[in-house]
Symmetry: D3
Subunit: 305 residues, 6 copies
């Protein structure tokens, strides 16, 4: 059965222990735990550290495992979403090194999944980025393979406003590119962290790829999005994406979740599906953010009881 979880990023003001307790109380069976390096967030929803992978002592590991066992909550994946293909090579090297540490941490914790981005130099084209990709990614994937960890690349284009214009900061935005990525690196440890919401505003079918990439879907994000028709009619798709769409909680956007979970059950998906809250209507306070997870749980109960 599919396991319902959420991303810990939305509860950044809680400790790891408090996050797990909240999951247990509200009926979630797993959590994707954010593992950014300690430091300042580079952008919204980033920079959250619920497990500090640089200080994962045997004692800490035991504490974590005990809590999870006791509360019957799992860790669906460790998550860290930087831009390992950033133009600034020094930064990129730092990100890559930390991704490897997150992979190491997953192994130590007995986990199988790490989620991240492939990244992109947003100012150069796909071709140029694939040149970088071919240099950067085989090493990371090999690192993961050796540790039996699966890397799930989220399919978010990381293109929101003028800051990421024109290419977005994550290459892995479409089936055509995924196909190429997996041809370049045909490892069974390299796959997708599949989120249908990013396909909605690209006007793409978000059901068909579930079938084509069924062996590559390692993890699922549950975010909804709605296209703003009036705004779109005004600015068109050449405008920056947030000017014509808005992320929403599941059930409040354009994704047909019945069809989505129907397809996941068709392919026999048994992994985690984690709610990712990026709906500004629910971000006013810790209380409303918690509420957004409770409501999402209620909404999803009809498909994932």
């Amino acid at each position: 059965m599919i396991k319902l979880g959420f991303l810990s990023a939305i509860l950044e003001d809680l400790t790891f222990e408090e996050v797990i307790l909240f999951a247990a109380e509200t009926g979630y069976s797993c959590v994707e735990i954010m593992c950014w390096p300690i430091g300042k967030a580079e952008r919204r929803y980033a920079g959250v550290t619920h497990i500090d992978v640089t200080r994962l002592t045997a004692g800490r590991i035991r504490e974590i495992r005990n809590l999870l066992d006791q509360k019957h909550v799992g860790i669906s994946a460790l998550g860290y979403y930087p831009n390992p293909l950033e133009a600034d090579r020094k930064n990129a090297a730092r990100y890559i090194a930390h991704i490897k540490k997150v992979i190491d941490a997953a192994k130590k914790l007995g986990l199988e999944n790490v989620n991240t981005f492939v990244g992109r130099d947003h100012q150069v084209n796909v071709e140029e980025n694939f040149k970088r990709f071919r240099k950067v990614w085989p090493g990371i994937v090999k690192h993961a393979e050796k540790r039996h960890v699966k890397i799930g690349i989220e399919n978010c284009p990381m293109f929101f406003t003028g800051d990421e214009w024109p290419g977005g900061k994550n290459l892995a935005s479409s089936p055509a590119i995924w196909r190429r990525m997996f041809n370049e690196i045909p490892s069974e440890h390299f796959g997708l962290n599949y989120d249908p919401s990013h396909l909605v505003w690209q006007f793409m079918d978000y059901i068909k790829p579930i079938h084509e990439f069924k062996d590559r879907i390692f993890h699922v994000h549950i975010k909804d999005a709605k296209v703003l028709r009036d705004e779109l009619n005004d600015v068109g798709i050449l405008a920056t994406p947030l000017s014509f769409h808005r992320p929403k909680l599941p059930g409040l956007g354009d994704v047909d979740w019945g069809k989505f979970f129907s397809a996941l059950t068709d392919i026999g998906y048994k992994g985690a599906a984690c709610v990712e809250v990026e709906d500004r209507s629910y971000e006013g306070s810790l209380k409303t953010r918690k509420q957004s997870l409770i409501q999402s749980r209620e909404y999803l109960r009809q498909f994932l009881a």
Copy 2:
């Protein structure tokens, strides 16, 4: 967060105390309490008195407040829905006087919302009715302003069968008219009690007005409605409205509630959303009417947990 409630009218055979207990038991956080004058109902769903505003002693007020505190249930609004623009001036004067008493009662109870109709002389046109409106309504609104009470006009055309033909008994049926009403009386205490079901059978977009009138939505009614296609094809829109549509419980009609609550969260609506049961399939007995509220609660949980 939006607060889920219901209208007390459907539980007319219960006392105020029983209504509040029922809300508490079934997980509703507020109730819109009917405050008709004691007497015979003039039409279906009217004439219910759960609080008698003419006998609101300090003692009664204390009782009411204690019960609400104790049960963690609020009063979303006091409701009274007469026709203050009725052709018969004597009746109209009586209604207006009672509206003012309901406003006074709200203030005494520490409440901010009173819901009602602007009314309409259904036999004369919009222009003529606005002449009456300009005489009648500034006084009522002023009365409310002084008491810091907000008047929410429900957008029901009050046009069902031949009795209200041709104009219906409530002018406030469309955005074009709301716009004019609020231009005439630009008070911040004069707004809408927004119910999408009335727009469904008028073949109107019920999402866009949420954005245009976001500062005027003081209260929300949750009623669904379905257009009866075969009947409509037979009689057309010039027939009386109930001959081509039917009110239903939320989820059993044509309203897309996901889109509806998505829009309410977009505008940051934090008020009450109260289920209004007018589905004859559930009106057989007190038991089925209670059941209809329980089922509505279950349906709405996915959007309003």
Copy 3:
């Protein structure tokens, strides 16, 4: 085969002879000839007299017939569209008398069709109007029966702006009413002059009635109409009809003419289908009005070659 024609009203500045010549030149095979009494028009598109039925001498009849034979153009029907159920009984009597004269004229000219309205007192309801209907119409239909003339009632609600509010000036607006009319007067000489455009803005199926009333469709009007979505969303269906829809030339509105003519061929309809131009974009001058008929001819050629 269905015969393509137009209504002569749009060419009011031409004589009968000029109208027939225009039809012959532009490839129309028939014309519905307007037969209002000589005098001032009471409303837009009314008051046109291409044949003066009060002066139809044997000589004039011979002239008319010769011209038609020579030009291979037929008269699909004589048309006169007053309100025989108008509240003012004197006016109504005048209209009824003239309808009978038009019927007489049809017989004299060897024609089978006269088109008109049943009329309506727009200020009283359907029930009251049927009382008048039962007094007025049996006599007219009997008059037609004796002369082997078929009366085609156009299904236009005659409701456009506030002037016809609330009921419109022609009762025969929906299948439910047609059914009742034909039950009251079950004569084979009493039927419909069917125009799909009036059903479009009433949000009704305009294909199904073609099957149900196949034996009652004596004549067809080809007018298109489009619902103005934005305006409708603003004012709703309770507003006057022209505030949310606009009559257009065939092909420029919401009627699916392929489906329409497909249904007419299914029932084996062999009568006339006459273009009725009421599209203000083409009413600037005689030249543009002629142009609108030429363009409609081009549009319809694909379905009625």
Copy 4:
């Protein structure tokens, strides 16, 4: 109110007692109990015996009744779905005899409903099958009438793969045929066990028949189905049905359940609605089959609380 249940067939590895306990624990208020003769299953989902109608002693009846009373779970119907019109007359006779035993058992248990198929010789046409029907079914219906038991014929065409090609093994697949069946045998004890999913892949309206056959709907099955567009575009409707559609849990297919239950409430249906699980994605183990019933319960709560 409509009573929510499930078909016991999916829990074939449990005893009757365990099935009832499971229903009680998971919030179902009734169960349709499978009553196949003891022996090997002839096809998927068949051959389950939760009550052995050939051994229904007074003691066993008492046990069953006590358990139901104690657990507040009802038996919505006894179910047995063979092919009583099978070409092999010996087999058919055996099926018919057992249907009568199931009817007897229903009476003994104080139940009113037995569900089954009319059957069909899949290799001959509708006309030929009606000849058999007229010989076979009047006797069965009379048997039921005498015992005040209602026979609900499920509307499944029993056509899945090449084995049932070309006609399927159950005649009762469409309104046209139901109408004829009920004309042939106009007994009030002969009706439908209505399942919308079978109409979905036949591209039929599954709402309208609810109104036409409102007095014949004795029982309801809740199964969903989705049309596989790509597969359909490849093979067309002349291919065997499972090659272009797939049965799914409620909410994961193409049925609009809001509209479905809305119609059931419109006709005042008060009987049982039982979930029938035939979704292969949930058939891996007893645990997942149980889970599928729990999830369906959560999904249906919004319409049947």
Copy 5:
């Protein structure tokens, strides 16, 4: 450019010479000429002999060629549509022999296209029919190859009423089967005579196969069809096809001809597109049948000028 033509079958009462003259006069640039053996028609639209291939003397060939040259009308193909896989082997052998004669005739006339059916024993399944196919068809195709003639198999399922139940009399009804046919016999002289109308009532995409089978489309039939929704809702797709759909002239059915010709131009199709009239509304007389071709010409002018 695509060449517009029609099938001569609809003008069965005319001679070959009259057919070609009619084409020339009405603006068609080619005709598919029916070549049934002289004798009685076996079914509607069959049995027409505009060229008798058994008597094709050098003199007759010269006459035919001269007429075509003189009138600037081509022969798009010779057509003969029997059932070469009929269960009765003697009949089948007769059909196959005549198909070969038609191929010979094409060569003699300097033509490249012959159109026919693969046939089907309608009482056995697809698998059994493919066994026959493998015996019968390689020989025919080889015969054609040697003469440089292309065989276009029409994709009509030949399933209309109970007579062809259950399988229809032409196997070649879907892309899945075409794919298999062309795998079995991968000759460049074996392809399709593509008619979108047969895919409409099979609820299939009629655009996509144009791309997949672009090298196999040797000829195109232009027939329209409409699904009869009410009838379909009554009988479902398991009923015989003519009970829920009706063939119509182009523009009077459900085919989107703009999209259809758009796809044909995309693949660079340069062959013939021939109107096939099977619309009973136009079959009353030779005059109406001629009229149906004139109207179709007018309709198609917008896409094939």
Copy 6:
């Protein structure tokens, strides 16, 4: 009435005289004449010179006018579509100088319309481009104003493949930008050459802007386009535009031309509507290019007779 024309670019191998003769013969009433400087084409469809504005002697002007008068064909506009905001300032200066010469030529020829692009440095964002726009365009518009010539900016984003990535070579791609352009330069001589096809693949409403910009639509291009759904689902809208859409002749794409011309008649548009052929299926030879204009003429006859 709207005047039907075409762009001369598609007939590049003809002389001006031959183009006008072709228009006259095929029933077009005007032509947009290409006026590129003599030289090599920079891209597909560019570089055509049917009038050399640098050599427009009084004699040549007289010749041109005589031919137009004699053939009853008008020039709808002079067209020249370079990139006046190109990064290379020298090139840009050259383009601007030539635009001014085209404006001068229009005046000399007694014409009112010149069509062009505003251009864009495709490698910098909208903001940066507007800085350039503010320097470059006021001068050009002033030049046109003085000569009473109207500049119609085509709304083509000039973004097809990787060459124009990421921004496209013409800023004027959306209503939001048009609004801003016209605010910056509020001259009545600065407007649009409106082409709906460019809005289709940007997923924008192409009807609404007709109303908002009704005073700015100086000229209209008639090109169709279709979105390639499968390709889009594969690559998404972030890919280069030609990878998911294809330009087509009118009637062979996704534009609803009935609605389009309906809106143009609503606003009372009286200018030219010129067919722009960029459908590769028709570009094989001069003959097929001519044919594409003849077919477009036939298609448009139904809306523009």
